[in-house]
């Protein structure tokens, strides 16, 4: 690993001024240090943002709950505000079973982590479609887009997207902007492009989650119950009137280069009661457009079951 300069600012303004060409944000380091060791990233300077007070904390902010960028996964899962309103986020965070990673990894870092595609991590690029198609692809996308056949590694992304959350970003010019999570993730179309809508000189400062009013849940399918990225997940948020669904939001995780919204399944649930049958049909609709690779057709079934179980969990119906 090449050496780099280390900066430890205490304000966002100072951090932004340090993010010149070749510099990169350091949060919990749980992903970045691996990228450095594998020489996938070679920054000239790391800007540690963990000592910037304004980036921490979870609080009510108008109609939103504001989650600071450097809130750790453990702080997220332990927060009373979050536990009371967003079981979906708690389930996604606790799915990362390691207390060590939850103590270090941050919420914004989870969204910004790079894909785990082994071809990317070994220096063969993120969009090497022929390597993926002809090689080992059991953990790759079943909803690939063009050359992007990797899966987004973020577990919080799908949950935040289903909850309609927004990412707040501060830029070098001192301006801030709000980007819906659904637009924060994007499938790159050229090598070198990022899989998130964030420029190298920008910082994620907050995540804003709209006030609850939904029944929400995340269901993950993992290889083991232990530490590993999920194989397929579903996060759902339901607005209900009595037992009837008035609107549904369903996002699949770890099946495509971005979290994947299941629009058809969302539509067919409106006016319905959540039962094993309606949840199963929604699961089937959610995976109808899947295009598995040579080794990962099994993920279609996992995603389908994840949708069903997430819906039943959110609605408080016992799974059968």
């Amino acid at each position: 690993m090449d050496n780099f300069e280390y900066a430890n600012p205490s304000t966002v303004k100072e951090a932004l001024s340090l993010l010149t060409a070749g510099a990169e944000v350091l949060a919990g380091g749980t992903d970045l240090l691996s990228l450095l060791k594998d020489e996938v990233h070679k920054p000239k300077r790391l800007v540690n943002i963990k000592n910037i007070k304004a980036l921490g904390g979870i609080s009510k902010a108008g109609n939103n709950i504001r989650i600071g960028a450097t809130v750790t996964l453990d702080e997220l899962a332990s927060s009373q505000l979050i536990r009371a309103a967003y079981p979906s986020l708690v389930q996604a965070a606790l799915g990362i079973t390691s207390p060590q990673i939850r103590n270090m990894g941050t919420v914004a870092g989870d969204l910004c982590q790079r894909p785990r595609c082994w071809y990317f991590r070994s220096g063969n690029g993120l969009l090497n479609k022929s390597l993926v198609e002809n090689g080992e692809n059991k953990y790759h996308a079943i909803f690939g887009t063009g050359s992007a056949q990797f899966v987004s590694a973020s577990s919080l992304g799908p949950a935040l997207m289903a909850l309609g959350a927004t990412v707040k970003i501060a830029g070098a010019d001192g301006k801030t902007k709000d980007v819906p999570v659904a637009q924060f993730f994007k499938a790159p179309s050229a090598e070198g492009e990022r899989e998130i809508a964030l420029a190298a000189n920008e910082i994620v400062t907050d995540i804003l989650v709209p006030a609850p009013a939904t029944k929400n849940a995340t269901y993950e399918v993992r290889h083991k119950q232990a530490l590993d990225w999920p194989l397929a997940t579903a996060s759902v948020a339901l607005r209900m009137s009595g037992t009837k669904v008035t609107s549904a939001s369903i996002t699949l995780g770890h099946v495509g280069p971005t979290p994947v919204r299941a629009t058809e399944a969302e539509k067919m649930l409106v006016g319905q009661t959540i039962t094993a049958d309606s949840a199963e049909k929604a699961g089937a609709a959610a995976v109808a457009g899947a295009k598995p690779l040579s080794q990962n057709a099994y993920k279609v079934q996992l995603a389908k079951v994840a949708v069903k179980r997430a819906l039943l969990t959110a609605a408080g119906v016992k799974a059968v």
Binding site: M1, D2, N3, F4, E5, Y6, N8, L26, G28, G29, T30, L33, S34, L36, K37, K44, R45, L46, N48, K50, D74, T97, S98, P99, Q100, I101, N103, M104, Q225, A226, L227
Partner: protein, 161 residues
């Protein structure tokens, strides 16, 4: 630009100062600069937990922390568990239950288990297994480690009510 950096920190309750490059992990600093080789390196990327230390009041994998990030912090390594020649109850329980063979994973398990017992004085087997999910052992099959941690919980905190 990347000159060495002076880091002032506290390790096992002693003030320590060391000089490192920004790219050196805390694990590397502990072992190769400070000379505390109790903490082990397995994978180097957060998967195995053998490098687990306590940073402030949180356990972390020290292979994913930069040495420079330790400035002003307080670190506990496996060397800080025993009181003089009296082993920590967890260390004693690991010996009594034969919870180690090659021993590479042991320092990480001990630090992680110590944090578990501070959070849950009487952890269930399930809590113990989940808590230790980022600590890999290739020798023991885990069972003896789980038994040792549960025995130490009783030794330290008395029988569960």
């Amino acid at each position: 630009m990347s000159a060495k950096v002076q880091v002032q920190t506290t390790i096992n309750n002693e003030p320590v100062e060391f000089l490192c490059e920004p790219r050196q992990s805390l694990l590397e600093c502990l072992r190769d600069i400070v000379g505390l080789t109790g903490t082990k390196e397995g994978c180097g990327d957060g998967n195995c937990g053998s490098c687990t230390v306590k940073l402030g009041d949180r356990i972390v994998t020290s292979c994913l922390v930069l040495g420079v990030e330790a400035a002003g912090e307080s670190i506990t390594t496996v060397e800080g568990l025993a009181h003089g020649s009296t082993l920590h109850p967890l260390q004693k329980a690991f010996l009594d239950h034969a919870a180690l063979q090659c021993g590479i994973c042991t320092p990480g398990f001990l630090i992680a288990a110590d944090a578990l017992l501070q959070k849950h004085p009487h952890p269930t087997e399930e809590q113990t297994r989940f808590w230790l999910s980022n600590n890999l052992c290739r020798c023991t099959g885990y069972d003896k480690i789980i038994r040792a941690v549960q025995a130490a919980a009783i030794e330290i905190n008395g029988a569960a009510q």
